[in-house]
Amino acid sequence: MRLTVNGHAHEAAPRPGQCLRTLLRELGWFGVKKGCDAGDCGACTVHLDGEPLHACLVPAFRAAGRAVTTVEGLAGPCAPGDGVPDRLHPVQAAFVAGQGFQCGFCTPGMVMTAAALDRGRVRDLPAALKGNLCRCTGYRAIADAITGEAAPSCAHSPPAPDGGAIVSGRARYTLDRDLPGALHLKVLRSPHPHARVRSIDATAALALPGVVRVLTHADAPDRLFSTGRHENPADDAADTRVLDPVLRFVGQRVAAVLAESEAAAEAGCRALIVDYEALPACLDPELALAREAPLVHGARQTGEDAPPLHPHPNLAAEAHGEVGDVAAGFAEADVVTEGTYRAQRIQHAHLETHAAMGWRDPDGRLVIRSSTQVPFLTRDALCTLFDLPREGVRVECGRVGGGFGAKQEMLTEDLVALAVLATGRPVRWELTRTEQFTAATTRHPMRVRVRLGARADGTLTAIALDVLSNTGAYGNHAGGVLHHGCNEVIAVYRCPNKRVDGAAVHTHTLPAGAFRGYGLSQTVFAVESAMDDLARALDLDPFELRRRNVVRPGDPMVSTSLEPHDVRYGSYGLDQCLDAVAQALAEPPPAAPPGWRTGSGMALAMIDTIPPRGHFAEARIALRDGRYFLSVGTVEFGNGTATVHGQIAAEVLGTAPDRIALRQGDTDAVGHDTGAYGSTGIVVAGQATLRACEALAAMLKQGAAARLGLDPQACRLDGDAVAAGAARVPLAELGTLEAVGRADGSPRSVAFNVQGFQVAVRPGTGEVRILRSVHAADAGRVMNPVQCRGQIEGGVAQALGAALYEDLRIDAEGRVATPSFRTYHVPALADVPRTEVVFADTHDSVGPLGAKSMSESPFNPVAAALGNAIRDATGARLTATPFAPDRIYRPINDALDRSEGERWT
């Protein structure tokens, strides 16, 4: 059939069941993204004869003889592979001006949808955009870009350098390139929560046309690793094989099929005959440590971070500690509050699913192009797993379509590498959205028992935490999340007596892993809810209770150990944050619908700006032909590092960010980079960039001073020259110079977040409406206010999803019951209020140019603040997230009935 795409005529022969999305990508239009492939996320929106449609739902044959416009051609006709157009479409320009994107993966679909809105639809954006999901921004910047309220970015907030490429669909994500001759990989997954593979018969599969190879555990290295990646690989238990004959969760890989097409690979998977020996499974974390519980692993090596102290093999990690005397602290308390809180399993839902490509380069090197936050650690893990030298493996990233911790794991690269090594051919593997829900990682579900004691004046006398974390079938991040989750949450409070008892247990469920907040969101929900109860019991204002107990500069930061550590008060703005939110919540709330109950609530969170025990980065800056080339290892996945690294370099080198060419996310770029996790993209990698640039600046001044016969101190960098008084030495005359900067992630500082809500709750139905949302953050010096505000808005929105809607449910057979966006509700624009963002005015002595991290932490106080507001409005203390109407209407009605009863008795 013939069709026209962006004015370009194509002859195409779609397969009978093919959808338009994949056809367009096969024709080279990579701006058409796959977020869900099911019509829910809108990332593949195109116009068919001018009508906006989800390309994944359009049968390809229906495009015969018709005209398709993709995001590449919105501004005018073009051919596949053409560069960014000189003139953007007004909607594209508005998205650039308003910074209406972070990772940018949803942006092509957002732009194509926005471009099709008439005025009526623009007036009702919540309905108009219900078919477009963004996981990064929290939608405020998108809404402003569409309605024209976007303020142009100011000098302090230069726009993202790839803005034009992102809004016009030219930014290249992991799979946005041709890989001629590539085999397609598909995986057969376990139908059982616990089973042993007796045999796999691949005869029928191999007989199918297009099927090239079947990989089973017999082909996999007999070697254990952890999908979780840390600077020290021993942090996480080595308990995982590339392909394992023992299956420990529904969805685990059983075998991989390599074929000439995805369809053939899928057919191959269906044709595999597997003989399973089903084994008893342990699905309930509360029962995992029972003597008779089915064992997930036998006795084995455990991770070095928070290793278990007790012998039960289902224990993945433990954290215990006490300072002072907690029993005595409770004995001297005038008031004790306690509660048990449950934080559910949630999925990161980054719009770009996990995906990787692999091939041999002309030198025979194994190259893996992957959607990862940790290219260097992945390379090292592949080297260990396959006995390859470091110089024999390269891991590179395109732009990465969101991560939120999910890509601090090696979930695809190991199998793609095995497939390349086994076949010698290029291989590509893209997870489906359903595989994201059923076989990738999640937040650790936790049960947190918290007990707080205080004197009548509000002074805390004791804090006790008892945490049960469900790490699922594998121990990736089990110890780290437990350890971190029990740390800053109580270190923020000055209290002489603290005790933590924590355990992470194995169950036969899909593995949990790193997730934004790294354990803190679950424990902060518990502790900050309990603090609210304590304030009520003491008849104290919740802000006042915090002010009386939070640490201040000079106080030791202690969780459960008095051991020295490298965290210091590089700056302190928690007091400002508390005051800002208190002031906002003191104002009367916006009007609520008649009959709804209103209330307000707050919560705080502290976070160390860098993960402990070393986080390394290297940056190289070169001057060649008068131009600057900056290489960093850290990856851009919506965290904004591409912008801020350019800003740092520009500030030090006295030039503009657009004069810095940046290369990042490639093991060939620099020597080492621990990775973009733990909110380190600016505070560690940026530190390395700062040091490299300072070294280069010194060299440039030296060079210019020598020519001018002056003291280098008299020289300053000024755009494309080094200046001294009226004299100027052009950079181009200084030859080729290079400098390296390194950072080791120590010492560390602390950042703070305070969230406040005013809410309305509808008695009867359990509906919650957020009337006002205020978030104050101490991020040190805010390098890029527009971008940092976006990080906070996005964090609050993602946390509202966790607080109100999202729940990755596992049924009685261990299967995921929410395998799609249609069953797992990620916030859309309609679900997210505008959040007012206030920054504390501080300057950090530890971070680069005074900055602190601000990626994960805005997530952490949100659920507790919302629960506290609902408590204020209704009298109901909610102890489990999400606060979905069908789960909370009963406790709310019961509480309201009680208070009505009290009024009349």
């Binding site: 099911a38 019509g39 739902l57 078919g131 916030p827 859309a828 109407p885 069908d886 789960r887």
Partner: protein
């Protein structure tokens, strides 16, 4: 998504060109559901839009809606002012989980035949006395009230090889006053309970409950009931096992809020006279 099990697409231009139905066939209307999930066991698609049915027709008897009429075309339909229940159409379109982009492809017939509890076209057609015209595989036709077409989640009274051709909404039903209420776990989410109440110029009252129940429930009463009468009628018509249970709402909540919404709708119609 790509449906890799499909090996053939048939696009008939007229009824005579319809191939004999066989197991593994699927009628393709908008495709917005078929292409949204893997379709095990389907090998051939029979494209219904190729038949070129007029999307809709307004006659003295009421409104005829082709099964292949898109939600977008239905939403744009201009109806006479005497059709006082017409605003229900727009509200039911908005109740669709899919965005306006999905409206451009999704069809009224597809929504009915998918027979999900939350299908808003089911609510619309049942509340407005809709009748389904069905093509039978022997070349004949039959009609069936839509309230009897949908039997339960993804179950209809259509026999293999039968095609939903058209839905007729009678003018008398369109001249009723109507009240619409909908609730879901998130503001624009899939309906957890959808209630439509109507009142005839003669005073007759009807309430239709969908989304909260496994199949549509329609209760007809001679006049506006009192609140407790409506409560009793709902309890009598909807046994516990009929409340739907899935991730879009727990059954006890659906029962609770369906009662609240029905009472709101009743109260709205009780005001302002017949």
């Amino acid at each position: 998504m790509d449906l890799d099990g499909i090996t053939e697409v048939v696009a008939p231009r007229a009824r005579a060109g319809l191939p004999a139905w066989r197991p593994g066939d699927a009628w393709l209307a908008g495709g917005t559901w078929l292409f949204s999930e893997p379709q095990e066991g389907i090998g051939r698609l029979i494209d219904l839009p190729s038949l070129g049915w007029e999307p809709h027709a307004v006659t003295a008897e009421g409104v005829q809606i082709a099964a292949t009429c898109t939600i977008a075309a239905l939403d744009r339909l201009d109806l006479p002012a005497s059709f006082t229940a017409a605003p229900l159409i727009g509200r039911c379109c908005r109740a669709l989980l899919g965005s306006f982009k999905v409206w451009n492809a999704a069809t009224v017939g597809g929504n009915l035949c998918l027979a999900l509890p939350a299908g808003p076209m089911i609510a619309l057609a049942v509340a407005l006395d809709g009748t389904a015209l069905i093509w039978t595989p022997d070349g004949g036709e039959r009609t069936l009230p839509v309230r009897d077409l949908v039997l339960g989640p993804q179950a209809t009274a259509l026999a293999p090889g039968e095609i939903l051709r058209r839905i007729d909404l009678p003018a008398a039903a369109l001249r009723r006053r109507a009240a619409f209420r909908r609730l879901s776990l998130s503001p624009e989410g899939r309906s957890g309970a959808l209630v439509i109440a109507t009142r005839d110029p003669s005073g007759a009252f009807a309430v239709t409950v969908t989304a909260a129940t496994r199949r549509p429930v329609r209760i007809d009463l001679a006049g506006i009931p009192r609140a407790e009468e409506l409560r009793a009628a709902l309890a009598a018509a909807i046994p516990d096992r009929l409340w739907y249970d899935d991730v879009h709402g727990a059954p006890d909540w659906r029962r609770h809020v369906a009662g609240l919404l029905a009472e709101e709708a009743r109260a709205e119609l009780a005001g302002g006279g017949a």
